[in-house]
Symmetry: C2
Subunit: 248 residues, 2 copies
DNA sequence: GAGTGGTCTAGACCACCAA
DNA sequence: TGGTGGTCTAGACCACTCT
């Protein structure tokens, strides 16, 4: 079967982008020009451009035109080993800001309960943080801590009433001081398209997926002391892991 | 400003999906029914359903209807520590198959050269593998090995002519036997939307991103012995990392 | 005001599937 | 054969930006 007109337009535009005819930041022909060029109707051309937009290749700006997106810079890298400051820029800039958005007690529920090895009806401290870079949120951090850990660590509770997150000691340091030393983290990484809430909070353009990280932190005896879910903006986040290999 | 009709239809359908009115696997109303229900034109309804499809929530099947996708099972997990067998199913099934697709000598180029710490014009062995689960490819593995490593390891070359990948010793084992023991891997994880090639090879439905993993394997002295790029199907792949934390 | 992309329509025709 | 979703059209009107 013949190639659809819309797919053909999209393919040729895509080829022109990857071969450098339209470098990052440059402007694609106007929709009206593409209509003339391919003898296609408006909605057909828009469908073709829409394919590129949903692939994250271009961005459309009403009143201006269509522009090639620059996807070369995924600046922020997350290293689990450095949970203390959580963020390090690959360029060596300062860590990203870290804002506490909400904190409350709730039941663990089946998912979090399994990750923390506690019963689903146990109370856990649920906290949400937004990691910023400039004014933009680049990652949503949801964390759950069992009640007995909170009791021992104690001053986590001080954060409950403060929305502004001071440069306090991080959770891992507090846990060590309380005797619940975290010694190992396991992180499962997945990807998916964002839901409307993610788009809203992270300010995601079309065609950008999110990185999901499910973390469980354990103490020396293997008992979970904390679990977290991270939702990162796919165009601004990368994760970095360094793992030793078992020698033969 | 009023909510667009298309967005309104999409939002209500989305809400009906998440609240269980349309559970995974169930069928959404036909386009013609939604046209009547909302008094909207065909293309408007299709745009709304298209939003859900691009979010990975539903799948449309010509001649049948629109169905809610089941995204609960991301069965395959990748553990870098177990590079020997590369894949382990969370359910404990056998590792996925591993097919050598191509192998050839080429110049490292700037990107691979930097990752391997060799000059861009140095020759490297470039190999492509497809990781299968059943008949489907779930991950594309591109690997680059410097010429001097290949010389010492030697029998990597045996794979050059074979398209079927026998259950041979894996690369890490061969390297250890040759004295180039890999002792550490660094993996950078990103996500993006697939390009048409990815869609073709991985058989990706609309609205599914890919997981990109950039790996560098180093020996005991910190010299790179291998680098790889993994492109994983976002609906069938997860990565799993376990990292020890530095004790205070 | 002129030009951009965004929304929406009513209708035609095509490709695929089941009975 | 009848119903499904997919493609494409020609045209109207809207929202936004710059001059």
């Amino acid at each position: 079967m013949a190639e659809k007109l819309r797919d053909q337009i999209a393919r040729k535009l895509r080829e022109s982008i990857v071969d450098g005819t339209y470098p990052p930041g440059s402007q694609l022909p106007y929709i009206t020009e593409l209509m003339d060029q391919y003898g296609a109707a408006r909605e057909t051309v828009r469908g073709a451009v829409g394919q590129l937009a949903h692939s994250g290749l271009v961005t459309t700006m009403r009143g201006h035109g269509t522009f090639v997106r620059d996807n070369t810079s995924v600046a922020l890298a997350y290293h689990p080993e450095r949970a203390a400051q959580l963020w390090s820029q690959q360029t060596g800039e300062a860590p990203a800001a870290n804002q506490l958005v909400s904190a409350r007690w709730e039941k663990a529920g089946p998912d979090v309960g399994e990750r923390l090895s506690v019963a689903p009806d146990k109370q856990v401290l649920y906290r949400v943080r937004h990691h910023h870079r400039g004014r933009q949120v680049v990652q949503i951090h949801e964390g759950w801590i069992p009640a007995d850990i909170v009791d021992r660590v104690g001053n986590i509770g001080a954060n409950l009433d403060s929305v502004e997150d001071p440069p306090e000691k991080d959770l891992y340091t507090l846990m060590r001081e309380a005797g619940d030393s975290p010694s190992e983290v396991t992180e499962d990484v997945l990807t998916r398209m964002p839901d409307p809430d993610d788009v809203e909070i992270l300010g995601l353009p079309p065609g950008v997926p999110v990185l999901m990280t499910y973390r469980v932190t354990r103490d020396g005896s293997g008992s979970p002391v904390e679990t977290s879910t991270f939702t990162g903006a796919g165009d601004r986040i990368s994760l970095s892991y360094t793992v030793p290999l078992n020698q033969k």
